[in-house]
């Protein structure tokens, strides 16, 4: 699903955010990426969703070599992924329903499909009765669930999450992680960047650890190292 080969990225001349990273993620996996602040986790995610370009190395997403992706191909790539962020990134002037629908509208789905799928997704994340609210009328956990629904409406095979629980308390964190596990069980590959030791340890899945831009460990049944 994701194949990274000798990937490097520098900011300016000095800051080596990623240094010769290689790993391979199979379809259906649930992979955690951990590492200290500034170790390059967000940089890696940004390269995967083509928000940034790597300096060197090769990156395949779903069999597509995006190392040299053109600007006009970026939307096509993003429609095959789902992305969630620490700060939710919801559209403040759109309702819950409209936020989720937007991802499908951008892909050109028909109105009927959109209505049905959005309702389904909102039911999945447990927000069926809040579809007419605006983001600022929701709690942080609820907002993140809207973002997850939005990331899933167009049925991506890969879901990328950069510290989705970073702003949440432990109960909400638990709920979001359970939701991600449920989604993974339905067949979606998940790449989760997190700081949360308990989350990583409870997942008992594959853990990739970065340190200063270098991949220092990749364990199939990993624990939080640092």
């Amino acid at each position: 699903m994701i194949k990274v080969t000798n990937l490097s990225k520098k900011y300016g001349k000095k800051i080596q955010a990623l240094n010769d990273i290689s790993f391979h993620i199979q379809p259906g996996e649930f992979v955690s990426i951990v590492g200290q602040s500034g170790s390059g986790k967000s940089t890696l995610i940004k390269i995967i969703i083509a928000e940034l370009k790597a300096d060197q190395g090769e990156l395949l997403v779903g069999g597509w070599d995006i190392s040299d992706i053109k600007e006009r191909e970026v939307p096509t790539l993003r429609r095959q992924l789902g992305v969630i962020f620490q700060d939710y990134k919801l559209l403040a002037k759109k309702t819950v329903f409209e936020n989720v629908a937007f991802a499908m509208e951008a892909c050109g789905f028909a109105k009927k499909d959109i209505k049905k799928t959005v309702r389904q997704m909102l039911a999945l994340v447990g927000l069926k009765d809040k579809e007419d609210r605006y983001p600022n009328q929701l709690s942080g956990g609820e907002q993140q669930r809207v973002a997850i629904a939005r990331a899933l409406v167009h049925k991506p095979k890969l879901l990328v999450a950069d510290e989705p629980t970073g702003n949440l308390d432990s109960i909400n964190t638990r709920e979001i992680i359970d939701l991600l596990k449920k989604i993974n069980n339905l067949g979606t590959t998940i790449v989760l960047v997190t700081h949360n030791k308990d989350v990583v340890n409870s997942l008992k899945g594959r853990v990739i650890t970065l340190d200063n831009g270098v991949l220092i460990s990749d364990q199939a049944q990993g624990r939080y190292l640092l």
Binding site: P75, E105, A106
Partner: protein
């Protein structure tokens, strides 16, 4: 086709849900439009005033007694063929007599006529000569005083307007010279202000734009609603402009009518009425175009996510 309707839907959503932002943006545009319209109105009043004055000015050429009708007509045709001359009117001795009787001279002066018989007419022919432009009257006067006309011409008189015409003429020259600088400077300022207003409005919504891009929307799909919103801003601003301008026009029209004691000299309501599409349509088109351009330029940076 689906995305076309979606783009329109998003444009209206953006317009109404960012109400205060839209209001501020439109207010800025309205101020620019209002000032432009004010300039147009002032320019019209200036032109109309000059034309009004022009119409009321003529040279009165008194001809020598005994000039025959044929000679007078020949002279009139001759003068009429001059490039500077707009119109020559022949005033017959009979008409002159009537004019004299009807003039507001006092009765004593009018009594002078009594020494003549009923059928005797002391008046001779005269000509009223109108020029095309105020500045040409001196040239016309010069031509009339040429040697070849002196057999016929008794005196020519500038109707006492001389100094007044000179002043008006100067005033309009100065006005014309500077009004282009003023209009130019003004348009430039308006363009810069509107461009920056749009830029700030896009800046304040940059997160929205970047989020849309991050969840897979194409550039066109993100950009079009903003561009349409720009057109909506232009439309709303022009509608508000019309709503403000008309009461103002109707308010000042009576005093303009009073000034020339004639509705037809400066009829600003009529002017705006008959140039409605030219004035407001052009302003809408230019503003909409400016908004489209500004939006496209301002949004580019945030689409690169």
């Amino acid at each position: 086709m689906i995305s076309f309707f979606r783009v329109i839907k998003f444009a209206f959503q953006g317009f109404f849900r960012n109400f205060w932002l839209s209001l501020v943006t439109i207010t800025m545009m309205l101020m620019a439009l209002f000032s432009t319209t004010l300039l147009i109105g002032i320019d019209y009043i200036k032109e109309a005033t000059l034309e009004g004055v022009n119409k009321k000015v003529d040279i009165l050429v008194s001809l020598k007694p005994g000039a025959s009708r044929e000679e007078v007509e020949l002279l009139a045709t001759d003068l009429d063929s001059q490039a500077e001359v707009k119109k020559v009117t022949i005033i017959t001795p009979e008409e002159n007599k009537v004019l004299y009787e009807q003039s507001n001279l006092d009765e004593k002066a009018k009594k002078v006529l009594d020494i003549f018989d009923e059928d005797e007419n002391p008046f001779s022919f005269s000509l009223a000569v109108q020029g095309n432009e105020l500045s040409q009257y001196t040239t016309i006067l010069d031509k009339i005083s040429q040697e070849k006309y002196q057999d016929l011409v008794d005196s020519s008189d500038f109707n006492d307007f001389d100094s007044f015409v000179g002043k008006i003429e100067n005033f309009s020259k100065v006005l014309n010279k500077y009004s282009w600088y003023i209009i130019g400077a003004f348009l430039l300022i308006s363009i810069v202000v509107i461009f920056n207003t749009i830029r700030i409005s896009i800046y304040s919504r940059k997160n929205e734009i970047m989020i849309m891009k991050l969840v897979g929307a194409g550039n066109w799909f993100v950009k079009m609603p903003f561009i349409l919103e720009g057109v909506l801003y232009a439309f709303t601003a022009v509608v508000l402009l019309i709503a403000i301008i008309y009461p103002i026009i109707n308010f000042i029209q009576p005093s303009l009518t009073m000034y020339f004691q004639d509705v037809n000299v400066i009829n600003i309501s009529e002017y705006f009425q008959s140039n409605f599409f030219l004035i407001f349509g052009t302003q809408f088109a230019v503003l909409a175009l400016l908004n489209i351009l500004s939006t496209s330029i301002a949004i580019r940076k945030y689409l690169k996510v």
